[in-house]
Amino acid sequence: MNGPHDLGGRMGFGPVVPEPEDVIFHGDWEARALGLTLACGALGHWTIDESRHARESLPPATYLSASYYEIWIRALEALLERHGEVSAAERASGKLEAPGLRPERCLRPERVPAVLAAGGPTDRRVPVPAAFAVGDRVRTRNLQPEGHTRLPGFAREKTGVVEAVRGGFVYPDTNAHGAGEMPCWLYTVAFRGPDLWGADTDPALTVSIDAWEPYLERA
């Protein structure tokens, strides 16, 4: 979607503010927000793609003025509501109106190390050969779905070179919407800076994206 999250190349956000390495959370609520988000993910109602889409679907003014953990919490509220676990009325009143749907999936502390260490690999076998090979020139398609996509706007309708064939991976454009994993070949595609940003751009700049096969056509 052409949402507020698609930030590559946008202007006017000011300087980057570096931060020391030992700053992990800014207040306890950020730590709880992290833990809540991961613990609720273990309920199995949604995929990582659906959760990303919930974040980018926040109203643009909200998204751009919120800290990242605020974005996470607002998206978590939306996901819990969508999947019938916590209603808006319950959030407003603080009073339970229905029991949880999946208490049997509640993440217990003793399982946390194993769950975090296992992660959620998204590589999958794709039953057809890859359409492109390393060195091929490809052009990104003009895809502007209203749903989730991982083709950033700045890399739309641009010509680049396939630098690596990464294998088959879950396709976020369908998976985010409960339409199946539909695994597709994934490629790293490199673009020259001037091809992305104009002729006066540093010619020593190369930018790559990781692009699923449906994003690409032969150049």
């Binding site: 930030l7 590559g8 190349g9 956000f13 980057v16 503010v17 570096p18 931060e19 390495e21 700053v23 992990i24 609520w29 730590a31 709880r32 927000a33 833990g35 809540l36 991961l38 613990a39 990303r52 751009l64 800290s67 990242y68 605020e70 919490i73 509220e77 819990l80 676990e85 916590v86 959030r91 407003a92 603080g94 339970l96 029991p99 949880g100 999936r105 509640c106 993440l107 217990r108 946390v112 190390p113 975090l116 260490a117 296992a118 992660g119 959620g120 998204t122 991982r150 950033p152 890399a155 990464r166 991976f169 751009t201 700049l205 190369t206 930018v207 790559s208 994206i209 990781d210 699923w212």
Partner: protein, 204 residues
């Protein structure tokens, strides 16, 4: 209007809003607060950039390991015990005389948690995400890094589930150092690409 009393306006401050959500989830039996504590403990004290620093120092001191890291970073990093969430599919990119690598996620906050821990705020924020792909030299200048003019810069936008670890250049003056001593000088930012590893005795 219901919106005036809706949940968006009930909790202006995030601590109360998060606490309220946690309380509901605990009462519904969906979340165990001790599991949240365990998750926080993991990323506050166990999984962080010292993992990545150990990987980099080993790559600097063992040619075979560096080769493995180039070929199959997921397996090479897993061999050191660093596996899991947001590190399922790893790629290592090596800085050198001919290229400086920089990692970003313009679309969200994708970051190699297994080797670097949780991303810093700036990595997740619009200033970095918007400019890293367009003006990386300007971004680097804000980190106090000046690259030689004309040095190629490669920016990796983490748009899929591959997670990128930058292997910075080993500074001169560290000949003969063992991996543990080298790991101490490898900073988090150098493994994102927004810093260089300083030679010993250099001003930071």
């Amino acid at each position: 209007m219901p919106h005036d009393h809706g949940p968006d306006n009930s909790f202006d401050n995030m601590p109360a809003r998060v606490k309220a959500l946690e309380t509901l989830l605990v009462e519904k039996g969906l979340v165990d607060p001790a599991a949240i504590d365990a998750i926080i403990e993991t990323y506050a004290h166990k999984v962080g950039p010292r993992n990545g620093a150990a990987v980099v120092a080993r790559a600097w001191t063992e040619t075979d390991f560096a080769d493995w890291l180039r070929r199959d970073a997921t397996a090479a990093i897993a061999s050191m015990g660093f596996t899991g969430r947001q590190g399922e599919h790893m790629e290592a990119v090596f800085n050198g005389p001919d290229v400086h690598n920089l990692v970003v996620c313009t679309l969200c906050s994708c970051y190699p948690w297994t080797v670097l821990g949780l991303p810093p705020v700036w990595y997740k924020s619009p200033p970095y995400r918007s400019r890293a792909v367009r003006d990386p030299r300007g971004v680097l200048a804000e980190f106090g890094v000046g690259l030689p003019e004309g040095k190629p810069i490669r920016v990796w936008d983490s748009t899929a589930e591959l997670r990128y670890l930058v292997v910075p250049e080993r500074p001169a003056g560290t000949e003969g150092w063992d991996a543990a001593r080298l790991a101490d000088i490898v900073t988090r930012d150098s493994m994102i690409g927004t810093a260089l590893v300083a030679a010993p005795g250099d001003a930071p």
